[in-house]
């Protein structure tokens, strides 16, 4: 009897460990958990070029199914995500940031803000992203803040975002970017300007 109980307990505990570890490593549990996944890191912007392809490992496949469903394969688009500012602190709604960068090695690009659940923040500001057309040629910058900046600068609203991250989409990426991302991508900078109104 005691022997049967110990085997039964082993099955239950083993199954729970297997389930929990798989969900945890793949970033599926607990809800909203941030995961430093990916095989590419350019200035803190992380990507996995296996996204959307059969080559994706089981962890990437599971995570992408949850956080990047219907993402394109890398020959058509690559996606970089960053959840930290230039000092390494998490991006927060309570802070104001300056996002800046230069030309991107792609036919079209955008930077979009998502909340911890990978959804657009629940605001009505109509200021969810900056894209190549808004940015124009050369260097560009945008202010990330919960309120519209007074100086007419490009704005990405973080209102109702809580702790958030940014996704950089690069459509029609140049082949050189796929071959040497660290050399070919000039990663956008995220400078924290203030938090709760204080520098």
């Amino acid at each position: 009897m005691r022997r049967s109980l110990s085997y039964g307990a082993a099955v239950i505990v083993g199954a729970l460990l297997g389930l929990g570890s798989a969900l945890w490593i793949a970033g599926l549990w607990p809800e909203g958990r941030k995961l430093a996944f990916g095989d590419v890191d350019v200035g803190g912007w992380r990507s996995d070029f296996a996204v959307g392809s059969e080559a994706a490992d089981p962890y990437t496949r599971a995570r992408v199914a949850r956080h990047g469903l219907l993402a394109l394969a890398k020959t058509e688009a690559v996606y970089f995500t960053r959840a930290l500012d230039d000092t390494g602190a998490p991006l927060r709604e309570a802070c104001t940031y300056r996002l800046s960068g230069g030309p991107m090695p792609a036919g079209w690009w955008s930077v979009t803000l998502y909340d911890a659940a990978s959804m657009l923040p629940a605001n009505t500001d109509n200021a969810l992203s900056i894209d190549a057309e808004q940015a124009g040629a050369g260097t560009w910058e945008a202010i990330i803040a919960p309120e519209r900046p007074g100086n007419g600068a490009a704005w990405i609203s973080s209102r109702e975002a809580g702790t958030f991250d940014l996704t950089l989409r690069l459509y029609m990426p140049e082949p050189a970017l796929l071959a040497e991302p660290e050399q070919r991508l000039d990663p956008p900078r995220i400078a924290r300007l203030s938090c709760e109104g204080r520098p």
């Binding site: 082993a10 083993g14 297997g18 993402a71 394109l72 020959t75 009505t124 894209d131």
Partner: protein, 177 residues
């Protein structure tokens, strides 16, 4: 032999098996839920659905871009005599036609900037044919993306989308339309 060795082995084997099984099943499970959610939101089977512009209030897929027009068609080619005729109408800017299986793999993407694209989608196991794609799984999703970063161009993309098609054809796959 120590009495705890047997249960420990069982625990480790169970943990490894459930770990692997969870990872194997998770994408399909999530895709199933996503397809059910798309159906609940009116995304049709075998037809492209005219989308609303992506906003915080209308979004249904994680990490959708507010700068793109997305039109979805769910498909189910469970019958061997079923196929799909898929057409992406012309659009002057970037657009693509992408196919996803139930494992979330993007098994084909066709770019169509400035032009229309037409192709047939055949059920799994079909013989390759000119102008046709064989789907790895019977069910999946087809997605048209069009670059439309403002309301005016989104409305224009909607007009262009009236020429899109995702039509089920019930006949031997090799004798297509």
């Amino acid at each position: 032999m120590k009495t705890w060795v047997g249960p420990l082995v069982v625990l480790l084997v169970c943990a490894a098996a459930v770990h692997a099984l969870t990872l194997h099943l998770a994408p399909g499970f999530i895709m199933d839920r996503a397809m059910a959610a798309l159906e609940a939101r009116g995304v049709a089977l075998h037809a492209f659905t005219t989308p609303n512009r992506v906003t915080p209030q209308s979004q249904s897929i994680v990490r959708s871009s507010p700068d793109l027009y997305y039109s979805l068609c769910r498909f189910d080619l469970d019958r061997p005599d079923a196929s799909l005729t898929v057409r992406m109408a012309a659009w002057p800017d970037y657009q693509s036609l992408s196919f996803f299986d139930v494992r979330t793999d993007n098994f084909v993407v066709l770019r169509g900037t400035g032009k229309a694209v037409a192709v047939r989608l055949l059920p799994p196991g079909s013989a390759p044919a000119a102008g046709a794609i064989v789907s790895p799984t019977a069910r999946g999703v087809i997605l048209i993306r069009r670059l439309a970063p403002d309301a005016e161009r989104f409305a224009a993309a909607g007009e262009a989308g009236k020429g899109d098609a995702c039509d089920l054809v019930l006949q031997p796959a090799g004798t297509g339309p």
